[in-house]
Symmetry: C2
Subunit: 773 residues, 2 copies
């Protein structure tokens, strides 16, 4: 009987499929090629189901596009490029989509920015919200605000059942998440939005919060059922801030994404019952900022994920489980409860588990009770995971509070568990692994039956690579699973026509003998150049404006080259994206000019500066930056600074919202002599525990006769800066009360410094900061 | 082709049904009659799918029953009475259910109480939680704790897919919700529990919080998806507290229940996205406490409900929409957002809509910011409702803050909207109605097309009585709907064997001539009696213990009868459920005894006391109650009290958790002369804005020469008591600083009182109370 039913069913199914196909064919496509803005608007206005509006090849500048129309499921209305890769949206432009069954394809946004809140928004207005609309195969490239402090989003999801797929999105450096899902209002919940097969390309470090690559909801809508699915995307170096993705709503899913060297985490910031399944997190040896998953709130399932070579800690730990605030306010930290973390693998991660992250009971003096995270995780199950580490650094658990609400079952570690948390649920077992690729290392045989938890059988049905878990084994990858993807095929993400990695930058070389030639070479540089100086002395009356990656250094000589800046304008002006390295120079000022500055405004993207083996003297100021500017890294090494009034001033972000002017300031093996005021003034304000920069590395350097004008002051001001290395320095005859005031709670301390007649190096445990939230 | 498919499908369906039926028949029922506790335990221990364990007829005393077994869907395991109505669970007993597919039927819990936290619990222990278990056709009657302050629940839901149906539950008078659903832990969410066809019989007023008839989750699990369905139940006089049902989780449904004269509301206290559809709320002319629906949080849909003759206001308004606390702590008040209130009817309700209930910005002096409800409702839609009132009292909107987040569409009122909120969305239209029954009044013709809101068509598909809304009309009842239930058929609720309304109480009469006869008559009273006094003087050496409803009065005479209490014991001792009325007496004490007291402990149920046309003198104390005791109503009228040291002391609930000793104290047309200390001391402590008792009505009374021992004190102490009428009284020569200190924020004020040489009557706007939460 069963067979008969099956046959009848197959027959019915075939019939339905045929019927559907026939239906499809009956839809006639009506292509309308538009060449002007007016024609485009008219085409949209008149659009009928099945219409395909083609934007003619070329540049469409300053278009403010409202694509409102009603298509049907069978016959959507499409807006697309005449030819892929040949239609550019530039200037002050945006696209708003509203209506039903609309498709947008093949557009390339570049060389511009939006004048509204979003570049692409799935809503024309509150009465024209998008439903069942898709944006596919588009590129948004460096479409960032000229003013980095101006906030916008590049994609705003509203409505329901909308989709972003196969897009490439990169280069947002201003305030605001790249993609944001809005959930305010009944029309915008139960969204079932899909975000898949996109390539989220590099987003530079922003410094401070509000630079997520994706934010789904906010704390005020964190009770809403969102049902957003983020699947099979490739996140590459999304370094904006500590949260790559900030999930702030319920029932979202994050499946099979790859996070490649992203300096942040996938964070379950607000909302509950999210699923994180089958994702790959890949770190590297050089960055301590690359994280994994951070957990807050209730009922999440974290399964089948693979974490490789992550060195982040605390907020950016490979797995961070936070402490909550008891009876937390809506916008702060709920307790973690009822979370399941099963069948994941952490390979070569430094201390994979950080528990009770954010615990801050000891800061009760400087924080109100509504900021004290003392509610420990409860009813958390950690089961069937693999912890593999080639070295013994793998603790594997770092704790910031008592661990009494986390249960461990059948987790296998190849190293002994030397942490404070001793449990039968972490079993030490030597097991074989196989290195499949630069990041994939698979355990071959583990001799343990997995733990069978509540609903495990129904909810953990496949592995990292989609193999069915018939006889479940421990770890992210089913031991006998047939499908394995050793390499990340970047072609399957983003568009089928724009290939970011094809863009090759070639390094130019210039040899210059005169000041004029130097200026010309700087101006002529396309992307990247080394400028060799062949003369001995260069005298400049105007500033050198740096917009590209440029290295300036003497041509094959051990002798330093003199560059004298005789007028009052700054010596070097750093523009957005500037990356300047100087080496082997004597820079001399006129006592009234600045050695290095940024533009005064519109510093839309970060810059880098390296000063190596260089003498800098007789300037008014060594470095002065503008509000809104941001240095990715400033490196000073093997150099001498003398006879300047002001030192390095990274102190313009004073709004106390967690922002700051430089991610890294590294000073090594350098001497400061007769710098009159503060040698360093580096500031970050606002109590934002998830801002975990800036970073000052100060070592092996000398400070002599500085700070005369900064009496009763601090020689090296670092208020609010989070990370610091302060060692092996020598301070002699500096007329200040304090060398520096370090922040004890952040682990800052002086190591092996020599201080003579120079005030004291103070450590203050807690810092009273302005509350942001 | 379609037809062929249909036929094939029908054939398959028939086949499946036949196959299933055959399967059913193959299950053999194995009945096991047990007569002892040991036999019962053995039967449970050995139970196999299909077993029916029969408890033999009779009383099962002190049984602590753990019913753990694994049945199957087709063959559940049943535990039931040998014969319905003949098996009683008494004494210290409870029932815990754990496992799968279990059924409990036909049991009668009475004359006892649980020694654990619950009477019936769907969990044996954390490893034996119930799933797919049902409790049907059972009675829990007056199974209340001897100590009213001891907390328990009668039904505790845990696990998933459990059910309570056709039960009758009445008489819980102690702390704790009658039925509570627990949602802590992944095993206890997504419950899909069903609670239907039950009769929740009278639950007396408790005084203060923690006396809900049903509570689903708590604030700490308010983020969980509960999916509890409460359907077709009958709630009769569930007066425990302001919340009949306290929904504290997500995705619950309350459909087609009847709330009959319940002094409270269906409250969406925590959690979001609940549905309240097709319920009937019926009030009466006498109670101001009967409410409708109170709304907090996000995304609820309130549709097709019918509200009749409700006089509650503020927290108990027919529709109360609250203000929230900005960024509210988890356990307080979230803002109301995205709520839809459509197609309901309010008939003869006094001011149906109360908006921004709980707004308390003006109390910023006495409350911390985390208690200030200043976040007004946002994105609330009120559409297609009917407001019908025979009188013009129908305001219809009372507001406690600005109304700027509520949109009105196509609401029809037969009276002009004379409220502050003027909107086109409330249309005045005279329309015909038809009186169908004592509570059902249907509008016959309304000349307006309903508003068609977002998702209305998908979500408002039927009306109050289940009629399909093909052509939607305004109000709860589809105008052309064919099904109408004019009367509430109470037989469809509760068990099929226990009929609470059949219980008839007959009033006895006794005529007594001596003190001894009086005592005997009181003792002999079964339920209710009138005791006529034929003598002139009665002298008593022992207390009169009142346990029933008893009236004591002279036999057909206008002359008062003297009762003298000569020993130091109290004159009258009121027991739980006592209801004493005295009239036409002269009560005389010995200066050392008390006129009225309660038991010192175990006052498990409320009592009532009426003193009418009686002189009371020479007692140490007029009334002294015990902690834990609770008077429903104390009425004193047309009487004189003289020469007593203490007055009426309702001041023993001092834990400041919102509790108090009496719901109503009514004093009318009565004289107090030479009461040495406070005449009244009536106390409620703790900041609990939803406790809206007690009630003092003091009018037309005289106070002369009182308060000598209460110097610098208050004559009538009412600290924390919420409702007060204080008018037409005369105070002469009372040696106190204050007559009373009234609570201005609660609208208390003195009206037309005459005060001579007696301190002042003060009104204090805000009262600083201890925070409970």
């Amino acid at each position: 009987m069963g067979k008969i039913i099956l046959k009848v069913r197959k027959f019915i199914l075939c019939f339905i499929i045929i019927a559907m196909c026939c239906n499809c064919n009956t839809v006639t496509k009506n292509e309308i090629l538009v060449k002007t803005k007016a024609a485009l608007e008219e085409a949209i206005h008149k659009a009928k189901p099945g219409d395909v509006i083609l934007l003619s090849n070329g540049e469409w500048e300053d278009i403010e596009l409202k694509f409102y129309a009603i298509g049907t499921k069978k016959a959507p209305i499409t807006l697309k490029a005449q030819e892929k890769g040949k239609v550019f949206i530039t200037g002050k432009s945006f696209l708003k989509i509203g209506g039903e069954y609309l498709k947008v394809e093949d557009l390339h946004f570049k060389d511009g920015y939006t004048t509204e809140k979003a570049v692409i928004r799935f809503k024309v207005d509150n009465n024209k919200i998008a439903k069942n609309c898709t944006v596919s195969n588009c590129v948004i490239e460096d479409f960032t605000q000229p003013d980095r402090n101006k906030k916008d989003h590049w994609i705003e999801f509203w409505g329901q059942q909308n989709q972003l797929d196969h897009c490439y999105i990169t280069g947002k450096s201003n305030q605001g998440p790249t993609l944001r899902v809005f959930l305010k209002g009944n029309e915008n919940i139960n969204t079932y939005h899909k975000i898949f097969a996109n390539h989220f390309g590099p987003r530079p470090r922003k410094g401070g919060p509000r630079a997520e690559t994706m934010q789904i909801g906010d704390s005020y809508t964190s009770m809403t059922p969102a049902y957003v699915k983020v699947e099979n995307n490739y996140f590459e170096k999304c370094n904006g801030e500590v949260e790559i993705i900030s999930s702030k709503s319920n029932f979202n899913e994050f499946n099979h994404n790859v996070f490649y060297q992203c300096e942040g985490s996938l964070v379950l910031r607000h909302g509950n019952y999210n699923k994180i399944n089958g994702n790959i997190f890949i770190g590297n040896d050089s960055s301590d900022f690359i994280g994994g998953i951070r957990v807050i709130n209730t009922g999440h399932w974290i399964t089948n994920n693979y974490f490789y070579n992550l060195k982040g800690k605390e907020f950016r730990a490979p797995l961070a489980i936070m402490n909550g605030i008891p009876k937390s306010p809506l916008n702060r930290y709920n307790q973690v409860t009822d979370v399941v973390i099963a069948n994941n693998s952490w390979v070569n991660c430094r201390a994979p588990f950080h528990f009770s992250v954010g615990a801050n009971l000891e800061q009760s003096d400087v924080l109100p009770p509504s900021e004290i995270r003392s509610a420990r995780p409860e009813r958390v199950i950690i089961a069937n995971n693999i912890l593999y580490n080639e070295s013994y650094e793998d603790i594997p658990i770092v704790t910031y509070d008592k661990v009494d609400g986390i249960s461990f079952y059948k987790n296998i570690s190849n190293n002994p568990n030397i942490s404070k948390v001793q449990t039968e649920g972490i079993i030490t077992q030597k097991f074989e692994t196989k290195v499949e690729s630069s990041w994939l290392q698979i355990s071959i045989a583990i001799n343990e039956t997995p733990y069978d938890g509540f609903e495990f059988e129904d909810r953990i049905t496949t592995d990292l690579f989609g193999n069915k878990r018939v006889n479940n084994t421990i770890g992210a990858i089913q031991i006998d699973g047939k499908n394995i993807s050793k390499e990340i095929n970047t072609n399957q993400y983003g568009t089928d026509w724009f290939h970011p990695n094809d863009k090759k930058v070639t390094e130019e070389e210039f040899t210059v003998n005169t000041a004029k030639e130097l200026k010309v070479a700087i101006e002529k540089t396309k992307e990247k150049a080394v400028i060799y100086l062949t003369g001995n002395d260069y005298e400049l009356e105007t500033s050198l404006h740096i917009k590209k990656k440029i290295k300036i250094t003497p041509k094959g000589s051990n002798k330093k080259v003199n560059i004298t800046f005789i007028s009052d304008v700054p010596a070097f002006v750093l523009h957005p994206n500037a990356n300047l390295e100087i080496s082997g120079l004597n820079l001399k000022g006129n006592k009234k000019n600045k050695a290095f500055t940024t533009l005064k405004e519109l510093m839309h993207s970060p810059y880098n500066l390296t000063v190596n083996d260089t003498n800098v003297e007789d300037f008014q100021t060594i470095l002065e930056v503008s509000k809104g500017s941001f240095a990715d890294e400033i490196t000073i090494k093997n150099s001498q600074f003398a006879n300047c009034k002001n030192g390095i001033l990274l102190n313009k972000e004073t709004n106390d919202k967690g922002d700051y002017n430089a991610e890294f300031l590294k000073i090594e093996n350098t001497t400061f002599n007769k710098i009159e005021n503060n040698v360093v003034d580096y500031y970050r304000g606002g109590y934002d525990e998830s801002t975990i920069g800036g970073n000052l590395i100060l070592q092996n350097s000398k400070f002599i006769n500085c700070g005369r004008g900064a009496k009763n002051e601090i020689l090296i001001k670092t208020r609010g800066i989070v990370n610091m290395v302060f060692k092996d320095n020598t301070f002699t005859n500096n007329a200040v009360d304090y060398i520096a005031i370090l922040w004890g709670a952040k682990g800052q301390k002086g190591v092996n410094n020599t201080i003579q007649n120079s005030g004291i190096l103070k450590v203050e445990e807690n810092l009273a900061l302005k509350l942001i939230y």
